[in-house]
């Protein structure tokens, strides 16, 4: 069986939906962050798939940019996680509702 563009796209969609599900349902902050990374990477997968099949480098460059930004984001995000854990002794995101109206 030949692997076509559609396969990659379906995989990307499946990964994105799994990530979204994780973000929406999980209460542990680290797991939420990991799910977020999953969503990001599903998009990256879609980018390079298109780049490969269309023979255009733009998608690949964009993917590298996205990974770079994601790395920075993770660094900041994990720092937050440490601080929040020190402060609350818990990583339950339902505790973080100080902005309730």
């Amino acid at each position: 069986m030949e692997v076509t563009l559609n396969h990659y796209i379906v995989l990307s969609v499946i990964l994105f939906v799994i990530g979204t599900y994780g973000v929406l349902t999980r209460r542990n902050l680290i797991v939420v962050l990991m799910s977020l990374e999953l969503m990001l990477n599903s998009c990256n997968l879609a980018f390079i798939s298109f780049a490969y099949f269309l023979g255009d480098l733009t998608g690949q460059i964009f993917m590298i940019m996205a990974i770079t930004v994601a790395a920075a984001e993770v660094a900041v995000g994990l720092a937050f996680v440490v601080l929040i854990y020190n402060h609350n002794n818990s990583l339950d995101i339902d505790i973080l509702k100080l902005l309730r109206g």
Binding site: V23, T25, I93, L96, R100
Partner: protein
């Protein structure tokens, strides 16, 4: 140089007002200013007015040095309102009329400032008092020295403001604050007429400058091109303004209440100077009045009625200041009678003599009140001459002057007015004036006898404290007493002068001639030779008044009791005592309906306008309360909402 007359009181007011009446003095001088502060404030206040009095005097003598036709100084300061056709300059005019007014205002004002130093010594708001007093002189000088109607209006409103501030000077007392408001509001009615007159003058003449307006009026071609009705309307509207400021019927009600202010203020503002602003207006606009016989007649009728009416009220009042207040209204009536018959110079002559003796009487009454520690009811006085002889003597001089005793100032000025009214053929008004003169003599002597003569009716506690006032108060009294005696010789009538061989008669009228545009100058001329009879009649009227008062209050007080038995007299007494119910009439006709109307409007405001505003705000608040639950702070909710939203948008876009 004219602007200095205006400038000095303003500087005085600024120094006293911004420095000593505010916390600024603590910042600059520290807390220990008690010992010298009052002295400094009093000195600044008096000195400022003294300087402008000196400048006025210098200018007056310069004016005298010129030929009568050239007696005019103009100083342009700057262009105030350049607006198309309307070009109003901030400039001053010093002619003979302005000279007389400014001399009287600054010198009498200075004496009253000096008097105030003693009179207000114990008041805590000493600096505020002198600020207002200087401010008043400043605005009064703008009124008198301005060379166009716009500047006169500025001064006009300014003196109204100063008067309001000073009547309500002791504003902690609700009644006094109310009197201040009443004065201000009643004055507004007159001001409304005045400002309409100014608009009309601009419409008709295209300018507000005195000389241009009167120059055009003196030009026969121009006069033919305008309608006489507009001149009459201008004259009548100006008179409405004068009626408000000069307390003529029916707007006189504020003046007696204005006595709530410190007595020195009553002397300066509500007797000697500000209330004569209306007379000044009449004399300044003499050509307008002269050209409208209708307006003149209205002025004459209102004035004669006011003079008599106020005198009839003054007879029965028991408050020493109220008697003087009504007598002021009555005397202002005389001045307007002179305006009404076109004897403008004589009106100003009476302004001058009245300023002398009325300031004297008010300051005297202030001295009485001061020595009795605040007592104003003449029923609780009597026999004061023994305790305060100097005040009693000067007060007697003032009383005799206003009563029209021959050779004192009031006699000459009042008699000139009556003679001219008679000469113009208004015999009825002359008779009213004559009766009023008799009444004046009666109630003024009544006031004097009840206050200074007879047995003491004071409470023993008060009596033990009676003391003569300090020098700063008695010296102005003495000076004013001399002026009250001698002031009349400024206008010594020619018919008398001819008889005893004096050439310099009618000095003030001759001096004022250059300010009065008139084809025929009304002055006591040769035709008055026959008026010895009139003068004699005046003397008889005054004498009758004085003798009646002497008989009733000194010789046989029991007459009063027998008089009180007559029901007719009792009714008259009651009416007069209740001031003919004018205040009550206004309350019923105007104040109460207006308050009622206002409360209706306030209901609409509260439920209509406020309801709308509150409705909108409560709508927003309630909506907010309902939707607030969606913002629960839970991250997963927000993420879900975003996801659902994204799905919905995708569905909408692609399907």
């Amino acid at each position: 140089m004219i602007s200095y007359i205006v400038l000095f009181p303003l500087i005085g007011a600024i120094i006293n007002g911004l420095l000593f009446a505010t916390p600024l003095k603590k910042i600059i001088f520290g807390n220990n200013t008690e010992s010298w502060e009052k002295k400094a404030v009093g000195f600044i206040g008096c000195f400022a007015v003294l300087l402008s009095a000196i400048v006025s005097t210098i200018l007056f003598f310069r004016l005298l040095g010129l030929a009568p036709a050239d007696r005019l100084f103009i100083q342009d300061v700057y262009t105030w309102i350049p607006s198309g056709e309307l070009d109003v300059k901030f400039s001053f005019l010093f002619d003979s009329l302005a000279a007389v007014m400014s001399l009287v205002i600054t010198w009498v004002g200075f004496l009253i400032h000096v008097y105030s130093v003693g009179y207000m010594k114990h008041d805590k708001s000493y600096a505020r008092y002198f600020t207002y007093l200087n401010l008043f002189v400043f605005f009064m000088m703008i009124l008198v020295l301005g060379d166009n109607f716009a500047m006169m209006f500025v001064g006009w409103e300014g003196v109204g403001l100063a008067s309001y501030l000073l009547i309500g000077f002791w504003f902690e007392d609700n009644e006094k604050a109310y009197a201040g408001r009443k004065a201000f509001i009643v004055n507004r009615i007159g001001d409304f007429g005045f400002i309409l007159a100014i608009f009309l003058i601009f419409m008709v003449f295209g300018t507000l400058n005195y000389q241009e307006v009167f120059g055009k009026l003196a030009d026969a071609n121009f006069v033919q091109s305008i309608s006489m009705a507009s001149i009459t309307a201008i004259a009548l509207l100006l008179f409405v303004g004068a009626v408000g400021k000069s307390a003529q019927f029916p707007l006189f009600v504020w003046l007696p209440d204005a006595m709530a202010g410190p007595t020195a203020v009553s002397a300066l503002i509500h007797a000697a100077t500000m209330v004569t602003a209306g007379v000044y207006l009449g004399a300044r606009c003499n050509l307008i009045f002269t050209m409208s016989p209708t307006a003149q007649f209205v002025v004459l009728v209102v004035a004669a009625f006011t003079a008599f009416f106020a005198a009839a009220i003054a007879i029965t009042q028991n408050d020493i200041k109220k008697v003087l207040a009504y007598s002021t209204v009555s005397q202002l009536g005389y001045m307007f009678m002179a305006i009404g018959v076109g004897a403008y110079a004589v009106a100003i002559f009476h302004v001058v003599t009245h300023a002398f003796f009325k300031a004297l009487l008010f300051l005297g009454s202030g001295s009485v009140i001061h020595s009795l520690s605040g007592e104003q009811d003449i029923r609780n006085m009597g026999g004061l001459r023994k305790y305060i002889p100097l005040t009693a003597l000067t007060f007697l001089v003032g009383t005799l002057a206003i009563a029209g005793v021959p050779l004192l100032s009031g006699f000459f000025s009042k008699d000139s007015i009556l003679a001219i009214v008679y000469d113009e053929g208004y015999t009825v008004f002359w008779l009213i004036g004559l009766i009023t003169a008799g009444l004046t003599a009666f109630y003024m002597m009544r006031l004097y006898f009840l206050t200074f003569e007879g047995k003491s009716r004071m409470a023993p506690k008060v009596e033990s404290h009676v003391h003569e006032s300090p020098m700063s108060m008695t010296i102005p009294l003495v000076i004013l007493a001399f002026l009250s005696v001698l002031g009349g010789y400024l206008g010594f009538p020619e018919f008398m002068g001819d008889t005893i061989g004096i050439d310099d008669s009618n000095l003030i009228e001759r001096f004022l001639q250059s300010s009065i545009y008139q084809h025929e100058f009304k002055i006591l001329e040769h035709r008055f030779l026959g008026h010895w009879t009139l003068a004699l009649l005046s003397i008889v009227a005054a004498g009758l008044g004085i003798l009646t008062a002497f008989y009733i209050y000194m010789v046989r007080p029991s007459v009063l009791n027998s008089l009180a038995k007559s029901p007719a007299l009792n009714t008259l007494y009651g009416w007069s005592y209740a001031k003919f119910y004018v205040d009550e009439l206004y309350n019923t006709l105007i104040v109460k309906p207006f308050n009622h109307f206002s409360s209706q409007l306030s209901t609409f405001d509260r439920y209509g306008i406020d309801g709308l505003v509150n409705g909108v705000s409560s709508l927003v608040v309630n909506t907010g309360r309902r939707v607030v639950s969606t913002q629960n702070g839970l991250l997963r909710y927000y993420a879900t909402a975003m996801a659902v939203g994204a799905v919905v948008i995708i569905l909408i876009v692609f399907i």
